[in-house]
């Protein structure tokens, strides 16, 4: 019963007057609603010449078989190329410069094809593996021509030159020798692409195989190269909000690129990308491609922590004045240095900063410096601020942590709820159903049809006003205004309530600090610390939750980053050097011996130390240390 083929027949059924025809095995039309079989059969309608139904049946059978294979001969990597092309286009509409698509991403991709021996090299993987006849002038060899836009800037491989890699002549080399696919159609293992089966079986050491998540790693690398104003977390959020093609990206392949069989396993995706995963893949790909050092991330770049801190301070509605403190922390920890920030895949330990996570971690550290976040001090400071604000209504208001918490908690809960609802409503399945083999093609198509019909029925029950369509993409998720009491804006509030003047400089009123992780795990388990929520204060939990929701990352991931920042900030505490103060004061006034000397251990929480591995203990306890705030000098430049 092939409903597609029966669409041409448009007459009304003599029994029930419906126009819904299917084809019987004999090629006759039957009504799908009343099962009335007509005398007319398909071929007669089309040609009107063949009277013998038996011949028609045979005819039809042959036609149908060929139908599965119809379409272009295409390779899996072309599919990925198409996805990358779509993603680059989407990024362009998001406002990214056209060079990203035409130069950077394109070159990365060419380099990938070369490195993975799929093209631009002497012995492409396909010829070396199989001795199939190479048809140089196959008419269906339209793979490269079909992507004229991506390949339009062939003449400017400026990036590849710097890569110190011998570049074979692209134009003389045919990228893909065509192998005639000889898979029998009835076999369960088949694919729409030429090399789908082979590709899914390919397991070569040292080759990074292309996957759909890796397309995002490519995009992110290109964005980083261009120093664009989109971070990895932004990119993944845009994917989730459907601004960048990812799930069902294959839907937009040209009609002639047929997908089925093994292609399903390669191109169908049923999960959203995950930060850690894509981050790892980025480094992996950059190393595989042997990319040179990326352009420097300097202070005027969006990805510089100072810039990102400013952005995230605005996003979470914290006072602008806090930016001075974040800058100070960035400076002290050295995470603002060009060498630290710039990605260099050739370096010994290839790693790049997680720019967005790091910036957010800096803000968390600053909040801890100011408010301690021990479920106690932040509230008493709020009381002071509240009293002051009541008395001095004309002045610039002091930042009130409690009020901020109330506003944020409400907005966050609403946002989260909405986020969960939209996720639950997400439609994963493509309009083009993917099937494994010709056997289940009809079943899959019918199932699809059924779902569409049922969806139609339920959509009539939904309120006529359609739910707000696609949200327009924005790098900000929250919106703060002075007018609405639920969305009070705290940007202009001052930090005077939590700072005191000391001579020429300002210090924080709070003189204590606790470390998120006291001992780092040095085991083979790869993680440096663990995050057991219940061991931490409620306000710390809230802040970690807030930021990890913004970046759509796991809380433990952010906690780890906070701990790493603290490790840089309180170097002496961790290195346990108990040298005299005079020496260390000289080299770094901030980390004074006072920090270590006046360390106050919270014995109670130490008893709760979780044991991570037999050798080390990952700290989740609160070691309250007294900061030597006399030493903590920073100048408020704006003052």
């Amino acid at each position: 019963m092939d409903l597609d083929e029966a669409k041409e027949f448009k007459e009304r059924c003599t029994q029930c007057a419906a126009v819904s025809w299917g084809l019987t095995d004999e090629g006759k039309y039957y009504c799908t609603s009343c099962h009335n079989v007509t005398e007319r059969s398909k071929e007669v309608v089309n040609t009107g010449a063949i009277p013998n139904t038996k011949i028609q049946a045979i005819n039809r059978g042959l036609k149908r078989k060929r139908k599965l294979e119809k379409g272009w001969d295409w390779y899996v990597c072309e599919g990925f190329q198409h996805i990358l092309y779509q993603q680059a286009e989407a990024l362009k509409t998001l406002g990214v410069g056209p060079e990203l698509k035409n130069e950077v991403l394109h070159n990365f991709w060419k380099r990938y094809l070369q490195k993975s021996k799929q093209a631009y090299c002497k012995n492409p993987v396909y010829t070396s593996k199989r001795k199939a006849p190479v048809l140089e002038d196959n008419p269906s060899h339209s793979d490269w021509d079909s992507e004229p836009e991506l390949l339009s800037d062939f003449s400017c491989p400026s990036f590849v030159e710097s890569g110190a890699e011998s570049q074979p002549d692209v134009h003389t080399q045919k990228p893909f020798p065509i192998i005639k696919a000889s898979q029998s159609e009835t076999a369960s293992i088949c694919s729409g692409s030429v090399d789908g089966v082979e590709y899914s079986l390919r397991k070569e050491k040292g080759i990074v195989k292309m996957t759909v998540p890796r397309t995002l790693a490519f995009c992110c690398l290109a964005l980083l190269w261009q120093r664009e104003t989109i971070t990895l977390s932004d990119l993944l959020r845009f994917v989730e909000e459907d601004h960048i093609p990812y799930i069902n990206a294959f839907q937009h392949f040209p009609e002639e690129m047929k997908l089925y069989g093994r292609d399903k396993g390669i191109f169908a995706i049923e999960s959203w990308p995950n930060y850690e995963d894509i981050y790892k893949k980025m480094i992996e790909i950059a190393t595989f491609l042997d990319l040179p050092r990326f352009p420097d991330i300097t202070e005027d770049c969006y990805l510089h922590p100072n810039m990102l801190c400013l952005k995230y301070l605005m996003e979470v509605n914290l006072p602008d004045e806090m930016h001075n403190l974040t800058c100070q922390v960035v400076k002290m920890t050295g995470i603002g240095e060009v060498d630290f920030l710039t990605f260099d895949p050739i370096a010994k330990m290839a790693k790049t900063a997680k720019y967005d996570v790091q910036a957010v971690a800096v803000i968390v550290v600053v909040l801890k410096l100011l408010f301690l976040l021990d479920d106690n001090l932040e509230w008493s400071l709020s009381n002071i601020a509240e009293k002051y604000n009541e008395k001095n209504k004309e002045d610039k208001p002091w930042f009130d942590f409690r009020k901020w918490y109330q506003v944020m908690k409400k907005s966050l809960d609403e946002k989260k709820q909405k986020w969960e609802e939209t996720r639950a409503k997400y439609l994963w399945k493509s309009e083009k159903p993917l099937y494994h083999s010709s056997i289940d093609k009809s079943v899959v198509c019918k199932r699809r049809e059924m779902v569409v019909n049922l969806q139609k029925q339920f959509s009539t029950l939904v309120d006529s006003t359609p739910t707000i369509g696609k949200k327009s993409p924005s790098s900000f998720q929250f919106n703060w205004t002075e007018e609405d009491p639920d969305r009070t804006c705290f940007h202009g509030h001052s930090l005077q309530g939590v700072l005191t003047k000391k001579g020429q400089s300002l210090t924080t009123k709070n003189s204590l600090y606790w470390l998120s992780t006291q001992k780092f795990c040095r085991s083979y388990c790869k993680h440096v610390t663990t995050y057991e929520e219940s061991n931490f204060s409620l306000s710390y939990q809230f802040i970690i939750n807030l930021f990890s929701f913004l970046l759509r990352i796991k809380t433990s991931f952010l906690h780890e980053e906070v701990s790493l920042i603290e490790k840089r900030l309180f170097k002496t505490k961790y290195s346990k050097t108990k040298k005299k103060s005079s020496r260390s004061r000289k080299c770094d006034p901030w980390i004074s011996n006072d920090v270590t000397r006046t360390l106050v251990r919270n014995t109670k929480s130490q008893a709760l130390l979780p044991t991570c591995h037999f050798r080390t203990r990952c700290g989740a306890q609160k070691a309250v240390i007294q900061k030597a705030l006399q030493e903590f000098r920073y100048s408020l430049k704006c003052e």
Binding site: S33, D277, W428, D440, K446, F458
Partner: protein, 450 residues
């Protein structure tokens, strides 16, 4: 309309290749292995986001239904339908039933829904997979019945009745029987309507014959439909009742008796008090011997000692000649009054008062003491408290007098209930109370020697 025959065909090319982690020949089965393989394949991730969001969607639907937010439920349902395309074949196969249950609930209550929408939905759902066809057909018919569309329901049931798909599983067979029985019930309804019309017609009327012929046809069809189901163990009260009514109407007393006896006594059937009640009523109509009636009610007494038929049972026992029946008669009365629902049943108290006297007169003190010994701890508080005496006297003086007599006989003159009632002064009841006092003095089982 097309069937998804996947449950039966089970193409091996589906992604459930790994699902059967069974070593051929050994018959070993490792259910955890599949999960393990999945987590490895997905890079340590346990669940795909698709699975996560659809299960979240399901709980949103349930929440919406709970709060009667049909609109929201429909909205989520729109997204939930994609589980029908889940690549996990287990979930995909379980989906139609869930979708049917939730969807039919939404369509039943949604303000924008109507019978047509429900019909369309039911027809679609029937044909997703074969396992649910009958269940959905039956529920669809019940929905139509609920909306008073008897004919449509009947047509629906007929369609389902003739439906066959390969080898029927045993559960499906029961369903077919149930569908036939419901069809029979509908026919019974038509029949009894005809019976009503017939009773209004004159016997000599020429229309009478055709009408009665019509009825006969109906009854024949119905008995076929109902008969099959009743053979299967289960609780089929409405079906049995209507079947028996029809059999009786056409004078097939033996057939009716057989059905009812089978329904009540077959051990494969679950214990069902109604079965015995139907049988008893039938036998009573038949004027069966007392002995037989007693044996039926004896079983009912064991299942439901507080049933209202127990007083009738007591009367039968009282009239019996056997001594053991007389003893049982006393037991039955005590057992009835053990239940809080019967405390104000004046007949029961009257019977007990009368029967106590009779028993004691017949010098069967031991019987009374036997019954009383297990109740003397709690009956005084339960029935014969001061509070009850007051309220009973206020509400129903006759009842109070009967109760007081029983109280006096069982727990002596010192009983608070008896004392309260005997002190009352009332014109109408003066004589009765006096007699009561005398009787108590004579028969009280407390200190009988005095």
């Amino acid at each position: 309309m097309s069937d998804f025959s996947e449950e039966l065909i089970k193409s091996t090319t589906e992604d459930d290749q790994g699902e059967r982690c069974e070593l051929s020949g050994t018959g070993m089965h490792f259910p955890w292995l599949q999960k393990h393989i999945e987590t490895v394949a997905t890079g340590g991730k346990k669940e795909k986001d698709f699975a996560q969001t659809t299960s979240a969607c399901l709980s949103f639907i349930q929440e919406a239904l709970l709060k009667h937010q049909w609109q929201q439920a429909a909205e989520y349902m729109h997204s939930y339908l994609q589980v029908l395309e889940d690549s996990d074949s287990c979930k995909r196969q379980a989906a139609p039933e869930i979708i049917w249950k939730l969807g039919s609930e939404i369509l039943y209550y949604h303000p924008k829904s109507n019978v047509e929408a429900f019909n369309a939905f039911a027809d679609r759902m029937k044909n997703i997979g074969v396992m649910n066809y009958l269940k959905i057909s039956l529920q669809h018919a019940l929905y139509l019945l609920h909306h008073g569309m008897l004919e449509d329901a009947n047509r629906n049931l007929s369609q389902a009745e003739t439906w066959r798909y390969g080898e029927k599983s045993s559960s499906q067979e029961v369903l077919i029987n149930l569908i036939q029985a419901y069809k029979g019930l509908l026919q019974y309804y038509a029949w009894s309507k005809k019976k009503m019309e017939l009773s209004q017609l004159d016997k000599d009327d020429y229309a009478y014959n055709t009408a009665s012929q019509n009825m006969l046809d109906h009854s024949w069809k119905t008995s076929v439909n109902l008969g099959a189901l009743i053979q299967i163990p289960g609780v089929w009260d409405p079906f049995v009742k209507s079947y028996v009514e029809m059999l009786e109407f056409y004078g097939d007393q033996d057939g009716a008796r057989e059905v009812l006896t089978n329904y009540a006594y077959d051990e494969k059937f679950p214990s069902n008090p109604n079965a015995h009640i139907y049988l008893y009523n039938f036998l009573k109509r038949e004027k069966a011997p007392r002995e037989k009636l007693i044996s039926v009610l004896k079983i009912l007494y064991q299942i439901v000692p507080s049933h209202k038929l127990m007083l009738e049972f007591h009367r039968l026992l009282r009239k019996s000649e056997k001594e053991e029946h007389h003893k049982l008669g006393l037991e039955v009365l005590f057992a009835v009054l053990d239940f809080a629902g019967c405390t104000k049943n004046i007949t029961a108290w009257k019977y007990l008062a009368k029967y106590l006297r009779q028993t004691l007169m017949g010098s069967h003190l031991a019987w009374v003491q036997e019954e009383w010994s297990s109740r003397k701890n709690w009956w005084p508080g339960f029935h014969f408290s001061y509070f009850w005496a007051k309220s009973d006297w206020k509400e129903d003086k006759a009842l109070a007098c009967e109760k007081a007599l029983v109280a006096g006989v069982l727990s002596g003159k010192g009983c608070r209930y008896f004392r309260y009632i005997s002190k009352q002064d009332h014109q109408v009841f003066r004589k009765k109370i006096k007699r009561m006092k005398k009787l108590v003095k004579k028969y009280s089982i407390i200190n009988p020697g005095l």
